[in-house]
């Protein structure tokens, strides 16, 4: 499901919950980011291949495949896209596992929209 793709700073939101994806998308679009939403693993891989996306925002509770499995898949495919992982509070082991896969940016749920935009801007620069 792709929405309003511009050439500048597109960001992929990999989130299986429709509302959560919409909330993140609306937050980022407010400050000028283009956002594409992927709701399954295939879409993530396809969108990374199709667009020069600057960031993948991945919810670790992604469903099938799980966030960790998806990270593993991206590693096997040697994808170089920066990844920001979203976890719920108290998922330290999951964070460590994601960290071991090379992820350096983490973000906790629930979130304040402004904080999400700020974190994304820190990683990819202003839109």
């Amino acid at each position: 499901m792709a929405t309003q793709i511009r050439k500048k700073k597109p960001v992929i939101v990999a989130e299986s919950n429709f509302l959560s994806a919409r909330l993140m998308m609306a937050s980022l679009q407010n400050v000028g980011f283009s956002v594409v939403v992927a709701r399954n693993g295939d879409e993530v891989v396809r969108l990374i291949a199709a667009y020069r996306c600057e960031l993948l925002i991945l919810n670790m509770n992604f469903g099938r495949p799980s966030g960790l499995e998806l990270l593993r898949l991206l590693k096997v495919r040697q994808e170089t896209i920066p990844i920001m992982v979203i976890t719920a509070v108290g998922q330290a082991e999951l964070k460590a596992a994601a960290g071991a896969m090379g992820v350096r940016a983490f973000f906790d749920l629930p979130f304040v929209p402004e904080d999400l935009c700020q974190r994304v801007t820190e990683i990819v620069g202003a839109p």
């Binding site: 509302l19 108290g90 998922q91």
Partner: protein, 407 residues
């Protein structure tokens, strides 16, 4: 002349007719039931699709207003209710309350009260059916507000169903106010859930919402044995600094499981200062404490990668390398994984271990290298070593090829 057929075994024509009629009736019943199941499936599937479409419509209409906490949110809710229905709007608002934080949360609660969602759930919470009450109580927890809190406190304390009490406690923790948390903790202590997963989940939520109350509970001594360990681990998982204090107090505990818990917690929240304590735990007489220490070093190297200089890694690497020949395979495997996260010196030690004549150390090293983030040239080296080992492990007598089998 010999008689053949049913008569030969003494079955009369009447009995035969009776059996045939029975078979026909049974077949008809099976066909009718199959038809009912198929129709039911079609209807429910259609209903599910319709509900999903409504949820998505409501989400699209409300999401932009929710993230902006826009003044026109009330109007947007009215439009969404007319287009997607009350149920979908209620679900969207409750889910948004879970995903977002800040002033919007109270506003959503106000809307849920005003639209009658809370009243509807309060009615359902009086149902005689346990599953319906549990669902309603869960919903009330997602709505928040004074009325919902009152109902949740009452359900957590008095409901006859343990599932409803558990749902009420979850709702109370979502509320997060002092009174709600206190009621949830009292209900939990009075009625410890049977499954450790449920208890772990409660501690995790409590650690996220009210770490001070959880710390107080641990210090009061009300939680004993496994409960104390689960609670401290939950504080560690939530990254609470107080977990470090509690873990450091218990690192020398006589009970080995408590020492292992303390080491694990330190691994999750420690700064470079606590590294010597974890390295020392690698010498513990109990294998699972040593394994926990090796895992803790792995976490410290991974979780703190962005913020620390890792001056400690060289010293840790040497100690971990010693444990590549530990008597426990678990310690060996964890030590190898930890080494793979400790930069180039760790990887170098693993490459050396992969050439070792000690098969256990060699296999642990290769398994860790296979999953480690490596430079391309190191990856090639590892691949070459794996190929060598695969060649060596070829059976002395090769399996016969299919052609030889059928010659």
């Amino acid at each position: 002349m010999t008689t053949t057929g049913p008569r030969a075994i003494g079955i009369t024509e009447e009995a035969l007719r009776f059996i045939a009629a029975g078979v026909i009736v049974l077949t008809a019943i099976v066909l009718a039931l199959t038809l009912v199941v198929i129709i039911h499936h079609i209807v429910t599937d259609r209903q599910r699709r319709r509900n999903r479409a409504r949820f998505e419509t409501a989400s699209m209409l409300l999401a932009p207003h929710l993230v902006n906490n826009s003044p026109s949110l009330d109007e947007a809710v009215a439009v969404a209710r007319s287009k997607a229905g009350d149920r979908a709007v209620g679900l969207v608002l409750r889910r948004a309350r879970y995903d977002l934080k800040g002033p919007i949360v109270d506003r959503i609660t106000g809307i849920l009260v005003a639209t009658g969602e809370v009243r509807k759930l309060l009615g359902e919470a009086k149902s005689r059916r346990d599953w319906r009450r549990a669902g309603a109580v869960r919903g009330l927890g997602e709505c928040g507000g004074a009325e919902a809190k009152e109902a949740l406190i009452s359900a957590a304390a008095d409901d006859v169903s343990s599932e409803v009490r558990r749902a009420a406690r979850e709702g109370l923790l979502s509320d997060g106010s002092g009174e709600a948390v206190h009621a949830a903790v009292r209900s939990f202590i009075a009625d410890l859930p049977r499954r450790s997963g449920w208890r772990r989940s409660f501690y995790a939520r409590l650690a996220a919402v009210a770490p001070d109350q959880l710390t107080e509970l641990i210090r009061s001594g009300e939680l004993k044995g496994t409960e104390e360990k689960l609670a401290i681990e939950a504080l560690g998982d939530a990254g609470r600094p107080v977990a470090l204090v509690l873990a450091m107090e218990r690192i020398g505990a006589p009970e080995a499981e408590m020492r292992a818990t303390a080491v694990r917690v330190i691994g999750k929240v420690a700064t470079d200062r606590e590294v010597p304590v974890v390295i020392e735990a690698l010498q513990d007489p109990e294998w699972f404490v040593r394994a926990a220490a090796a895992r803790a070093i792995e976490w410290m190297a991974t979780l703190n990668a962005a913020t620390t200089q890792h001056n400690w890694q060289q010293g840790a690497c040497e100690k971990l390398a010693e444990h590549m020949t530990d008597s426990s395979w678990w310690v060996r495997a964890n030590a190898a994984r930890a080494l793979s996260r400790c930069g180039s010196s760790g990887v170098q030690l693993l490459l050396t271990a992969s050439q070792s004549s000690d098969r256990y150390a060699r296999d642990a090293a290769i398994a860790a290298l296979a999953t480690a983030p490596l430079q391309p040239e190191v990856r090639l080296q590892v691949k070459k070593r794996i190929d060598e080992l695969m060649e060596q492990s070829q059976p002395a007598i090769p399996a016969p090829r299919p052609k030889e089998l059928f010659a």
